[in-house]
Structures are given as C-alpha cells and as structure tokens.
Amino acid sequence: MNAIFFGVLTILSLFIFMNLGKIKASKKQMNRDDRINWGGKRRPNFQQNRARSKIIEGSAEEVDDDTQK
C-alpha cells in the first residue's frame, strides 16, 4: 500500500512537472518590480525613479498673459 501510494505520487508529480514546467508563469509572477535580477545588472526601479523625478503630476493648465497679471 505504501509503495503504491508513493509510486502514484511520484508519477503524478513528474507528469505535473513535465506539463506545468513548459507553461509560462502567470502575469502576477512575471510583472513585478521586485523580481530577482539574475543577470547582475540592476533592473530600473520604476517606483524609485518616479519618486525621484521632477515631473509634477496633474492636469495641464494653459497660462496666458491675462491670468498672469
């Protein structure tokens, strides 16, 4: 019984590995800023860059001479 249970578990697990392994990981897994950088070069940190940037967010407003006065 022991051998049958663990034998079936082994075969089933290998089957799952062979099929699931070939499928790309979910977007939830892949589209993250904090993924491991295996290449050595650091990925650009968009959150950090956004905080450091001097761009002021908001709606654009047209400035003419009358309003300036």
Binding site: A3, T10, I16, M30, I36, G39, K41
Partner: protein
C-alpha cells in the same frame, strides 16, 4: 549614482554562480536561445540518467562512494569553471549522483523497508507543488527572498563542513544527526530550505527563457534543479530515518 556601486555591479549576492553576466544575448539567433521546453526536457534527461545510475548503485552498492566523489567534483566543475560546458558535465553528474543515491537508499532500505519510495514520492511531490505555487504566483521570489535562502543554505553547508571536519577528531555536532526533537526540527528546517532553493531554480529558468539566454543555459538550469533535487532527496531520507528510528 548610488553609493553602493558594488551592489549595482554584482547584485545582492557575491556567489560567482549567481553573478555572471548572462545578459549579452544579441549574438544568438532565436533557435539558439533558452526556452522553458528545452530546460524541462533536459531536466527529464538528467532525471532519467539519475534513475539509471540509481539502478546501478542499488544493485552494486559499492558504487555509492565513487559516485558521490566524482559527482561532487563534476558539480563544482560545472558551477565554478564554465556553465557553458554544463551540457557535457551535467549528464555525467546526474549518472554518478544517481549511483550514490542508489547505494545510500539500499543502506536505508535495509534498516527501514519502504523508506526509499517514501523519500522519492515526497521529493517529487514537493517539486510539483512548489512549481504550481511558483507558476501561479503564490510564492514570489524577491532579492530579499534569495538573500535569505542563500544565507541559510551557506549556514547549513558550513555547519555540515564543520561537523565533517570534527568527525576526524572523534567528535561532531551531535544534534544534527540525533533523532531527538531538536535533531528532527533541524532536519525539517533543512528540508524547508532545500525546497525553497527549488523556487530559486524555477525563477532562474523562467528569467533565462524570458531574456532569451544562450541555449546552453537550458543545461545549466536543469543541472541546478538536479543539484537541489539530489540534496532534497537526501535530506528527506535523513528526516524519515530519524522519524522511523524513534
């Protein structure tokens, strides 16, 4: 410019196996690039060779020690010499480690019948369940996750090395091998860390396929998965032996 320029250059880990620059992929055509299919197929080849080696080791247990020594040398050669040659070293590594595992399992089976198939089932069960958790995004490996797993792995390796050296002088670190509560807790912890190493291997393969690394990295990814699986199997076998001996 960051004050931590070393971090920019090498990343968080100083391990040479993790800090090579594999990102120069422009020189390779589409057919020469790493894919998930290729990495999984090569893992299957290595597993088949490992089982063939284990069959030989099971029938001739004397092959266990030479298999372990040659397999370990081949692992170090693959990691530290050149990952590009993993295609020629990894199959031999798998076969020799299989011999070692076959021999070790025979000794375990003589003491506790049925323990081998339990360890194999649990090893592959953990592999499949963690692969599902990784692919679905339940487990998300980050730089801190890698740092934590790598530090714990190095800690365990140093502990084993110290214990091995101390054994030459007739002593050792007792709790590592004991079947007491502390010894079992230590084994559970080691099995946990070995399992988390699988997640790092999955991420390495997924990242390599996404970036289109050269095709030989399929062998390197499969090899790193094999190294972790061999370690996990041995640790599960040790844990089951401790539990059965109580």
């Amino acid at each position: 410019m960051s004050k931590h320029s070393a971090l920019n250059t090498f990343g968080r880990s100083g391990n040479p196996a993790f800090t090579r620059n594999f990102e120069n992929t422009e020189a390779f055509s589409q057919s020469e690039r790493m894919t998930l299919d290729g990495a999984v197929n090569k893992t299957a080849i290595l597993l088949t060779l490992c089982f063939a080696g284990a069959f030989a080791g099971w029938n001739v247990p004397a092959l266990a020690m030479p298999g372990l020594i040659i397999g370990t040398i081949l692992a170090f050669v693959t990691i530290f010499r050149s990952p590009a040659k993993a295609g020629s070293t990894a199959p031999f590594y798998a076969a020799f480690q299989g011999m070692a595992l076959g021999g070790i399992t025979v000794f375990a089976e003589m003491q506790y019948p049925g323990i081998g198939i339990q360890a194999i089932g649990l090893t592959f069960g953990i592999l499949a369940s963690l692969l599902f958790c990784y692919k679905s995004g339940i487990i998300k490996p980050t730089e801190n996750f890698r740092l934590m797993v790598f530090s714990a792995t190095m800690g365990i390796a140093i502990l084993y090395l110290v214990s091995f050296i101390m054994s030459f002088f007739g002593s050792g670190i007792g709790f590592i091998h004991s079947n007491g509560l502390f010894g079992i807790a230590f084994s559970v912890f080691v099995v946990g860390i070995a399992s988390l190493n699988l997640v790092l291997d999955f991420d390495f393969i997924e990242d390599g396929a996404e970036k289109g690394l050269p095709q030989y990295m399929e062998w390197y990814g499969a090899f790193s998965l094999m190294v972790t699986l061999v370690w996990l199997y041995i640790e599960i076998l040790r844990l089951l032996m401790k539990l059965r001996s109580r």
